[in-house]
Amino acid sequence: MTAPLLEVENLRTRFHTPDGVVRAVDGISFTVREGEIVGLVGESGAGKSVAGASLLRLVEDPGRIVGGEVTFKGETLVGFPDGRAEAGDGSGDDADDRWRDDVLSAEAIRRRIRGREIAIIFQDPMESLNPVFTVGGQLREFIELNRGLTQGRARELAVDMLREVGIPEAEDRYDDYPHEFSGGMRQRVLIAMALACEPSLVIADEPTTALDVTVEGQILELVADLQAKYDTSFLWITHDMGVVAEICDRVNVMYLGEIVEQADVDDLFYDTSHPYTEALLDSIPRPDRPVDELDPIAGIMPEAIEPPDGCRFHTRCPDARAVCTEINPDCRPLDDAGRPHRAACLKHESVFGAGYRESDPIENEAAGGFDVGRTEEGTDD
């Protein structure tokens, strides 16, 4: 097994809004190894995108990383001095004195990590490209910046990459503007952008959500091919278990800022160990499912301000019992067989020993039937 490329330990990111503190990411830990595609799955509002942004220290006001540690290729991207983890000193993530001494400075993150080592693909290909600059020009700019190439070389490489991601007549399309590309083509451009910088890790933040199913399929295929070719690792953020099944090696399932299940993709599907994961699997999209366009950050706000006591899922969990309202289970390994399968659910009595079996079932929203797609994502059919 290869060494972890990215290690995230107990990462916590909060938004200080007028309505209260939103714990968007509340102590998550996971790793990404070289050449792996790791999924980060959950509904809109689970904190997946904020988690992705936190890795690059891209969290925007009023959000702040308040705790935890992120290491990437032996360098510390996030880390707090002892006892100052909750550092409520009001300075933003840019203020270098917030961080422990061995943490990369904001400037170093910008120059050495962003794009160059960790590239990102955003959800909405329509909004991610600047409408007043040519597609080729934008691609060239990022290549120039992150690969230290001359303009001419960067241009050649940009054309090559456009060709590689399947843009027909790449040479001619170089000077076209984003509005002259379809959504799928723009997403290809964004993939080209990410890979052209030759990063070790690509954070793909719901990159296919805004696309229709056929195009989504093509993009997933393309990514799988390119991943095999460049051996780039991916952190694939999505709410779609279908995509997870197709592309991921390992999966982290997130609910309200926490990771509730962590497993290899096969284990996750065939030995599902958390009721929330089960619910997600039941909601695997049908081909006629409409495109989900919710803003992930907007969706967080109402829920993560006051997460329920006990297990955060107990208000919607079909298996919830009285004990679940009192104890919030952490994500524990389920057996000693060496399988990296973890779950945060009291049902696993042998692991948690919290008295789940004797506890009484409770009434909650799950009684009327559970529909993930409907409850939070608003993807009405």
Binding site: R114, I120, N130, V132, F142
Partner: protein, 332 residues
Amino acid sequence: MNIYRYALRRLLQAVPVVLGIVTITFLLSNAIPGDPVQIMLGPSPSQAEVEAIRARYGLDQPLYVRYVNYLAGLLQGDLGRSIYYGVPVLQKIQERLPATLLLIVSSFGFAIATAVPLGVVSAKRRNDPTDHVARVVSLVGVSTPSFWIGLMMILVFVYHLGWFPATNLVMPWAPPSALPAAETRVDVLLASAHHLFLPTVSLGTLQMAAITRIERSAMLETLSEEYVRLARAYGVSERTILRKHAFRNAQLPVITILGLQITTAIGGAVLTETVFQINGMGTLIVDSIARLDYPTIMGTTVVYGLVFVLGVVVTDISYAYVDPRVTYGEAE
């Protein structure tokens, strides 16, 4: 379609607008109450005198004949003859227009040069003291009448401090012989700028304030766009984001406002010229209206109409230049 053909097309499209302006101007001037002939000839002219004058200015003919004649004249660059000055209106306008254009152009230059950086900095330092100062300045700027600013500046800088001359403009290309020590070109330019400064600030403040506000809000909007996040995620520096990635998009609403400000500036110039006693178009219009000098009223209005239409066309072209999504009207 390239941008030149687009420009040509927009110019051709402006022709009916200009025709409309001419027609409305013509009809309105003929609807002004009062008889110019009476003003020219005093209280009790003889019938023969009145008729002679009417014939001379074509006032004895029916309205539509005069309209057609006027249009025909326009096509040959003939705006008629001023009743009061007794010279061709065109000549009068040629005398007066340069001063006004100089004033308007320099006030726009002043406004853009100050407002764009101010708006950008204000957006960048949102809610910092710099931002608050910029916002107060622009609020005061849009709410203060330009003539008042002009009068106050005259009071302070001309009478109290004596830093600037109070009246008249010096055209850089035609220095008056009376100008002391205006020997070299540089001297003339300096003298010109010296005279131009107060009127420019007085007229330009409103534009400056309006542009600052738009620039700030447009920059704030583009700075929160996804493509700016993307640029940041690829390690582009904040400085480059501000100057390149966010800036260009943010200029679109600014260009629109600039186009609209042309009318405001033309109106403001009338007052500014009065306050600073500049012999420009503004004073020409005011005097002509007071004297019921129809041909001059019409001529100046038509010329202003042209200036405005040209301004709008230039605005459209700049917009198309900045925003590649403008299709140059091919699909219409």
